[in-house]
Amino acid sequence: MTALHTEPAHAARPRARAGRGNQRRAQRWTALAFLAPLLVYLAVFYAYPLYRNIDLSVHDYTPRAFIQGNPEFTGLRHYVVIVTDDAFLRALSNTAVFTLGSIAVQYVIGLALAVFFHRNFRLSAVLRAMFLVPWLLPLIVSASTWSWMLNSENGIVNAALQAFGIGQINWLTSPDTSLLAVTVANIWLGIPFNLVILYAGLQNISPSLYEAAGLDGANAWERFRHITFPLLRPVSMITLLLGLIYTLKVVDIIWIMTRGGPADASTTFAIWSYREAFGTGQPDFSPAAAVGNLLIVIAFVAGLAHVRLQRKEENG
């Protein structure tokens, strides 16, 4: 409409401009039509479940209230109950140990492997592909394999340790080791992801820099410290942040191996939420939703950091 109004004012170019304006408007509608499935999808399958989740956390939902649709409004009570629960600090520290421990070790091993595979050698492509296997396996498969390997009486890990004179360790059934055990399994799962991304990052570093450093007589460690590591910093940050976001969400591996036990020893926020809602005979959705929403807030803060980093990089 506005394009038509301006027409009399400019005599020479108006038609072209009006034409272009119409075209642009038409294009905008076309774009919207192509986006429509996604917009509907996001609204129905993301926004609405999220809204339901907030709704759950401020009411007292029991399975019966679900069907009848008349839950009692409780405001922020569930949040207060959760934060003051004895389990809260436990879950917080477990989440921190599991998440930070996982991403730190995954990153270091992933980076070492990426540097190792950086210079091609015979079979390097094949071996690199094999490293993807743990990441592609269904989690239930990896988790149950690790469970059996870490089995107290018949596991291969204890059998191997016995050869060195170390007695039986109850990896999954002792509160001292269960968090360590699930973290180790999770590190194993995350190495391929770190390797692939860091390897791709290394490919973008110009080989001429290494040649120049070689002429200056820099040894391998100096080349790593002064070229690889600094230039890889943006990719490293993104890898770690994505790792953080993914690891915060992890339920499957812990639930399958220990169910968060024994005695909450490996219960993270995600496990806590899952157990309240689905892990017992009596689903308790409202506190579960409250824990879940706390988790979203943590992930969201990490996500904002990710977006900022990416923007910063785009703008140079």
Binding site: P37, R52, F66, P138, I156, A289
Partner: protein
Amino acid sequence: MKAQKTVWKTAVGVVLTGVMLFPVYWMFNVSLTKTGDMRADPPHWFPWDPTFEGYTAALGQQLPALATSLFIGLGTVALTLVVSLPAGFALAKLRPRGARTIDFLLLVAQMIPAVVMAMGFYAIYIRLGLLNTVAGLIVADSTLAVPFGVLLFRAFMAGIPAEVMAAAQIDGASTWRTFRSIVLPLSRNSVITVSLFAFLWAWSDFIFASTLNRSSEVIPVTLGIFRYIGNNTTQWNSIMATAVIASLPAAFLLILAQRYIAAGVTAGAVKD
């Protein structure tokens, strides 16, 4: 000198790969172990005397679950493509309003923990009667892949030269026509990548299956294995045999489509 150096590297690489893949070997080894040898001390390191009793039991019990998983995986691929292909095209080529907002929403969407999504879906499905249905699981599983699909398609289609599209438009092709007969065929590789991941994620899904499909007779294979572990802790050869079978799609894809997989892993994180 140089050749010697790479031989040494290959040797180290083989050892590292061996260590990394040991759990996978162990799964395979246990799946071939006789029930009687399962608790042998020390455990048998090699399946000298293999048995297929595990596989027979696994196939006998898990065949319907494998079929269900296959069906859910294919449904998820279809739904993911239908939603994300046009959206990726619009974001890459049609310069819609609010493209940045959509980008941001897609990033946020990927951060939402699946357990939170599961509760939301549960609350909705219980009203709509979609609990314990394959359709319900397909929709839930597709949320794992749609944001990834849109972002990958957008990145890929942005690389299609503007001239190719302009030429089609001069020939009088509508936008839909251009999308269908020019952009889609050119995007074949990215379609393969997204389909692979959508399928793998749906096939591997445990959280949605264990929450939205709890009391169903029709269960995917992940839940089949989980129940198997819960019900009998002695038949580890059958459990591991099921695990080996459930890993086949991954192995298959790794051999046939390795380059698409590497493309997918890096797409989200690294920009050239």
